[in-house]
Amino acid sequence: MIPDDAVNTDAIMPRAGFSLPREQQRKLVLASLRPGWSEQVQEGDVLVAGNSFGIGSSRPAVTVLQALGLRAIVAESFGEVFLRNSVSYAMPVLECPGVLATVDEGEMVEVDMGAATVRNLTRGCELSGQPLPEMLIDVIKRGGLYAMLREQGYMASVVRA
């Protein structure tokens, strides 16, 4: 959980890591806010976050969270561009006011994007969020915008020499 309000993308994805290999970049994720946090994230974890998560720069900060193994983010609310990037890079995200009061660190949760719900399996309760429109859920299902562009022939599958 990162319950802090207004976490910015410089903190999530620091400039210092832009050119580093993924393994080293991983250590920097949110390190200025929560030293050591990124090392604890495990494959399949769901991140529960506070208000205005991911404000600031448009850098694709969601991708370093994906690389940690996170498979969904549920926040009280998101920064606008962070929300867009999450859809574009195929990370399931749900705006869910009240989630901080419904989930605690370490509890098991299940996120249903279609129904826009978070179910706390530990407590046996459920909370409804703001549903994403079908069009955007479809982008996530199709693997994000780059996968769609390749499908449609706009983008090469390889890099020019």
Partner: protein, 425 residues
């Protein structure tokens, strides 16, 4: 109820009669701007080449974040940008030497016009609101998708209306006005922002641009200003393209309307690590002798000719204090040349400042003036987040370019009035 400016632009570009807050709409976009950050070869940037674009005449590439290239991966991104511009027949490539920070180049070359919609993969894109052009940052993958297919999506927002009255007191600037708005009204998350009122006509294009760019730091989505005489005069000098300005409907509904008396603005400073909820009047800090290591004047918001002019006025006949470095980065090469002709660069250099070529540079902590652990920086650039300008163990204060220049002379945070000789006839 009627519509706000940005929602009218969204409606006209989505082929709809009306767009209401909360609606998600798919639109065409008149001007698509990509920076060098789009062309890094990485899974999360541009992992393979673009094969075709729907409307090459709408797409511009403006190199800015890493200019001249400070590292091999940046040089590679520039090479890819040039290759794409040429092969796809794009509208414009602002290459090294003819470059500037994208939001400044958009302004100088009128890449967005009144009533139009502009998108770019950088959050300070709101700067084009000066041009009565609806503009906001979208993600990098979004902008690539838009360039390719000619379409993108927006979630329409309710708007906040700021009505500006009066005139800024001498010794204050548009940066102080922004800090005043942040201090008084805080984050406008989830909202567009419109600026209106007689006070707006007292602000020139530079000052409006600073305000529109910095409104991103109020967490605004679209930022709009009307097509008044100041703007129409400005555009008449640089473009002959036709356009249809947008204005809000007379009965447009706003989430809030705030009256702002410009005469109440004073020099302000944002304290380290965030802006909203963290702004204090300069005089409250002046007694505290906050020592500085680096002073930075630059970025899309404050690397304007007026910023270099203000800095030169403070530094004329002065010296940057020992142990302090003052870095000045014009927002474009065009500004660099004008500042050179006006003598500002000579004055700044004589005083001990380093004037760099136009680039985002130190503002984003990439190069040309990164701060080290434990250092204190005062900047007139766009953000003071932890780690933004280099080390996460540095402290970043934000103020106007005049206050940054004065702090460089004093060796601690202070205003021009504290610098001996300034303001004395």
């Amino acid at each position: 109820m009627g519509s706000t400016m940005a929602n009218k632009v969204l409606a006209s570009h989505a082929g709809l009669a009306k767009v209401s807050p909360g609606d998600i709409v798919v639109t065409e976009v008149d001007s698509v701007v990509m920076s060098d950050t789009a062309f890094y070869l990485a899974a999360d940037r541009l992992p393979s080449d673009i094969e075709k674009v729907a409307h090459p005449e709408r797409v511009s590439i403006l190199l800015d974040h890493g200019v001249p290239a400070p590292a091999i991966d940046t040089a590679h991104s520039h090479k890819r940008a040039r290759e794409h511009a040429k092969r796809l027949g794009l509208r414009l490539l602002a290459d090294v030497g003819r470059h500037g920070i994208e939001h400044q180049v958009v302004l100088e070359r009128a890449l967005g016009l009144p009533g139009q919609l502009l998108a770019c993969n950088d959050t300070h894109t709101t700067g084009a609101g000066v041009l009565n052009c609806a503009a906001r940052g979208i993600g990098l993958a979004d902008v690539v998708y838009l360039a390719c297919t000619g379409k993108t999506w927006y979630r329409a927002s309710p708007a906040i209306k700021f009505v500006l009255q009066g005139r800024l007191p001498s010794g204050t600037s548009a940066k102080d006005l922004f800090l005043h708005l942040s201090r008084r009204f805080g984050s406008q998350q989830g909202h567009d922002v419109e600026y209106h009122g007689p006070g707006l006509s007292t602000l020139g294009i530079d000052e409006r641009s600073t305000l529109a760019i910095m409104s991103t730091e109020l967490d605004a989505n679209f930022v709009m200003m009307p097509a008044d005489e100041v703007l129409l005069d400005y555009l008449a000098g640089i473009t002959g393209e036709p356009f249809t300005p947008v204005e809000p409907d007379p009965d447009a509904e706003y989430a809030a309307v705030y009256e702002v008396e410009l005469g109440e603005v004073q020099p302000f400073v944002a304290l380290p690590h965030r802006i909203n909820g963290n702004v204090v009047p300069l005089h409250e800090l002046e007694g505290q002798h906050v020592a500085v290591d680096q002073c930075f004047i630059g970025s899309c918001s404050n690397g304007k000719l007026s910023d270099l002019r203000d800095a030169a006025a403070v530094l004329a006949g002065q010296r940057v204090a020992d142990g302090v470095r003052l870095l000045v980065t014009p927002a474009s090469q065009a500004i660099y040349l004008e500042a050179l002709r006006a003598g500002y660069i000579e004055t700044l250099t004589e005083a001990g400042a380093v004037v760099t070529p136009a680039t985002c540079g130190a503002c984003a902590g990439g190069h040309s003036g990164v701060v080290g652990p434990g250092e204190v920086c005062i900047t007139s650039s766009t953000r003071n987040f932890k780690g933004r300008m280099g080390s996460a163990e540095a402290e970043i204060y934000m103020a106007s370019s005049a206050v940054v220049a004065a702090s460089a002379v004093l060796g601690h945070i202070g205003g021009p009035l504290a610098v001996a000789g300034v303001g004395v006839a």
